[in-house]
């Protein structure tokens, strides 16, 4: 059995997901130094009342002091770690905003400021959601990570985009991932069905650590680190312009079981990247610009063994291109923030699965795709 591959390349979030299928009791399911998650390890006896109090505490004051839920639950080490992550995240975010204010968002220092700020917001959000997950998830977590990824995975989906500025609405979205050991090649396309609009994207990624194809070394869990390069060409034919983007991103996932056993089944992702874009407006010469594309996510594996199983994650992407673009926010703040998204993959069998994806930025984007892993894939 294998996990889903990377073929969520549609909007270029990177952040390859991969729920999966580790044999019960395999190292992939265990937090370091702890028994396998699928074995539903013994957990301190916690009364229902205390668990409810912990859940309430994870909301308030947990929204302010992340880890409160775990502290109430008696998982002090995890609670303090989450609080420390929150502190680090808040420090980076506040420091970033302060740096931008002091420097007047100077062109000479703004790139590291943006990257630090997004990382800070990511740590802040991840620690908040991890606290909630840890007090609400069932014993052993909601699922287990993959031990390997398929050689090939294809997808075919339909997408709906509501952008008040553009006429397009519906898209056909095919895609494919090919894996060879630690290398991944992905391709995808968005083809407008009611408008002349098309987005073609090719990705190549090298995975330094983490689950790979079944013939590679066995991964300890779902955590990974990879470098991804991508080329995207987006034609807005009816609006007479195009955007061509080359980008590189260093991205990774950490299974949060590394932080505490209550977080088994959850994961966090971070990525830092930069894109160079070329715009062609009508027949005019290309004009260039750059774009920082950090992203972060918090997610959970769904299912320990058998089917259905998959994963779901909430994602922030700082990129302002693509269909979703950046967020429009009432008041002062529009322009700088990127978009939010939710993505879920669920496999009904070793071969067939579904990918659901929604994003909210300058547009609302929804996609539902059928995933297929050919028979000779593991």
């Amino acid at each position: 059995m294998t996990a889903p591959a990377q073929a969520d390349t549609g909007e270029g979030e990177g952040a390859p997901g991969s729920p999966a299928v580790a044999a019960p009791g395999s190292p992939a399911m265990a937090a370091p130094g702890e028994p396998p998650a699928t074995a539903a390890p013994a957990r301190k006896d916690v009364s229902t009342g205390r668990r409810a109090l912990a859940a309430a505490g994870a909301v308030f004051p947990g929204v302010v002091a992340h880890g409160t839920g775990h502290l109430i639950l008696g998982e002090s080490r995890t609670g303090w770690t989450l609080l420390a992550l929150e502190g680090a995240g808040a420090g980076l975010a506040v420091g970033g905003v302060a740096g931008a204010a002091v420097s007047g968002a100077s062109r000479r220092v703004i790139a590291p400021i943006v990257l630090a700020s997004v990382t800070g917001v990511g740590l802040f959000g991840i620690s908040l959601l991890a606290d909630l997950y840890g007090v609400l998830a069932p014993e052993g977590g909601t699922g287990s990570p993959p031990s390997s990824l398929p050689w090939v995975e294809t997808q075919l989906g339909l997408a709906y985009v509501h952008d008040p500025t553009f006429a397009y609405r519906t898209f056909l979205v095919p895609g494919m991932d090919l894996r060879l050991s630690s290398l991944r090649l992905s391709g995808s396309g968005w083809f407008g069905l009611n408008d002349d609009n098309a987005r073609l994207r090719a990705e190549a990624a090298h995975r330094f650590i983490g689950p790979g194809t079944p013939d590679g070394p066995s991964a300890a869990d779902g955590s990974f680190l990879e470098l991804e390069g991508a080329l995207t060409h987006h034609r807005y034919t009816s609006d007479d312009f195009s955007i061509t983007t080359g980008e590189v991103t260093l991205q990774g996932r950490l299974d949060l079981a590394h932080i505490g056993r209550t977080l088994r089944g959850s994961f966090a992702e971070m990525g830092w990247g930069i894109a160079i874009e070329g715009y062609r407006n009508g027949g005019r010469p290309f004009e260039g610009n750059e774009l920082l594309i950090p992203h972060f996510a918090f997610g959970m594996y769904l299912g320990h063994a058998g089917y259905p199983r998959g994963e779901a994650k909430v994602v922030y992407g700082h990129r302002h291109d693509g269909y979703a673009g950046g967020a429009k926010i009432p008041g002062l703040g529009s322009g700088v923030p990127g978009h939010l998204g939710l993505q879920g993959r669920l496999y009904a069998s070793p071969r067939w699965g579904l990918l659901a994806d929604v994003q909210a930025g300058s547009a609302y984007v929804g996609r539902l795709s059928l995933l297929f892993r050919p028979g000779d894939s593991p």
Partner: protein
């Protein structure tokens, strides 16, 4: 079980998506359509194309804040009688005339307390629609002339007189454009204060709003300054001001812009807005939320043969091109300056040589 958990998890996580709102500028675009229209008792007033904010309408009393050098105003009073019409933010040498049909109605200048403010007196025939026409003497002249552009005063309103003093010294400036962020929060007090500070200027300033005008409510700016999206023509140049304060242009405005671009094809065309479609420093993205929308707008402007674009929001000075159109960011009104750029407070002057040449865009440093 897995399916249910997955659905519940997805549902719980959808809340953040509600933070994004696609129609952030729609309310303001709709409000634009109401600017310049009012009725009170038996009196009605309508300013053509909404080119002035009606600051006050009472029996016998009308006060306007002009958004353009030339205005056409239709005023009707069923009761008739004497009226005082006050126009703020007008060219000092502009004259007001009045007509009912082909018949001229006498207008008397009664007060000129500031260079850009005049109060006129006239008598309205009962029930008749009187057309008031404010016209500067050089509106149609085809000779070289100059205008100024600035933006981003925000919290530095206490020092704005330095800028105005330099602007008053600049020879030949007929008016200034403000590309937004007049205030720090857009409160009524701050909008009032900005208008009060402008009284020392010898020339009017035609403004669009910036994101800082949205800091309190987004419906106050229109009361004080009028439309955020509008255009006017002066001395062979069309000026189009767009409201990009929410890092987007409302779809309603794209419809208006189509017409404005068509009408401006044969003129020099200057487009001004607060947030630039694209920040020349892309990693900062002090620009539109969507690069796709940015390119759509720029393609429209380029296809519409726009000659010059001015932006604010970034507190420095940049000269670049977007979609082949010369572009300038001038955000030197005093708000936290971009460091390490050696620019500081400034405004720019633009020399126009009709019929179709921008002779020079010059930075005037204030500090």
């Amino acid at each position: 079980m897995i399916l249910r958990d997955a659905l519940l998890a997805l549902l719980a996580l959808t809340a953040p998506l509600a933070l994004s709102c696609l129609d952030v500028a729609e309310g303001r675009a709709r409000r634009d359509r109401e600017v310049g229209k009012a009725s009170q008792g038996q009196a009605r007033v309508a300013v053509d194309e909404g080119l002035a904010a009606i600051r006050r309408l009472e029996p016998g009393e009308l006060s306007l804040w002009a958004s353009a050098p030339a205005l056409s105003i239709r005023l009707t009073d069923e009761a008739g009688g004497p009226w005082r019409v006050t126009i703020e933010n007008m060219l000092a040498d502009a004259e007001l005339s009045a007509r009912v049909g082909d018949e001229r109605v006498p207008v008397e200048l009664v007060d000129a307390p500031f260079p850009t403010q005049r109060t006129f007196r006239l008598s309205l025939p009962p029930g008749a629609e009187v057309t008031l026409s404010l016209r500067p003497p050089d509106a149609a002249r085809r000779e070289p002339w100059r205008f100024a552009v600035f933006a981003d005063v925000q919290e530095e309103i206490d020092r704005v007189q330095d800028i105005y003093a330099k602007m008053n010294e600049a020879e030949g400036v007929r008016f200034a454009l403000i590309s937004g962020d007049l205030t720090s929060q857009g409160s009524a007090e701050q909008l009032e204060r900005f208008q009060r500070e402008m009284k020392t200027l010898r020339v009017p300033c035609y403004a669009t709003l910036g994101n800082h005008e949205l800091g309190t409510r987004d419906d106050l700016y229109h009361e004080w300054f009028g439309r955020g999206n509008f255009r006017f023509v002066f001395r062979g140049v069309q000026f189009t001001m767009l409201d990009s304060a929410s890092a987007t242009i409302d779809p309603l405005v794209y419809g208006w812009l189509d017409g404005w671009l068509a009408e401006g094809q044969e003129l020099l065309h200057v487009v001004t807005m607060h947030l630039a479609p694209l920040d020349p420093v892309g990693s900062r993205n002090g620009a539109f939320a969507s690069r796709a929308e940015a390119n759509k707008l720029l393609t429209m402007l380029a296809d519409g043969r726009v000659d010059l674009t001015f932006y604010g929001h970034i507190h420095s000075f940049y000269a670049f091109e977007n979609a082949g159109i010369p572009a300038y960011i001038s955000g030197g009104g005093g708000a936290i300056p971009e460091r390490l750029d050696g620019i500081g407070r400034h405004f720019v002057t633009v020399d126009v040589e009709p019929p179709g040449t921008i002779a020079q865009v010059a930075v005037v440093r204030v500090d």
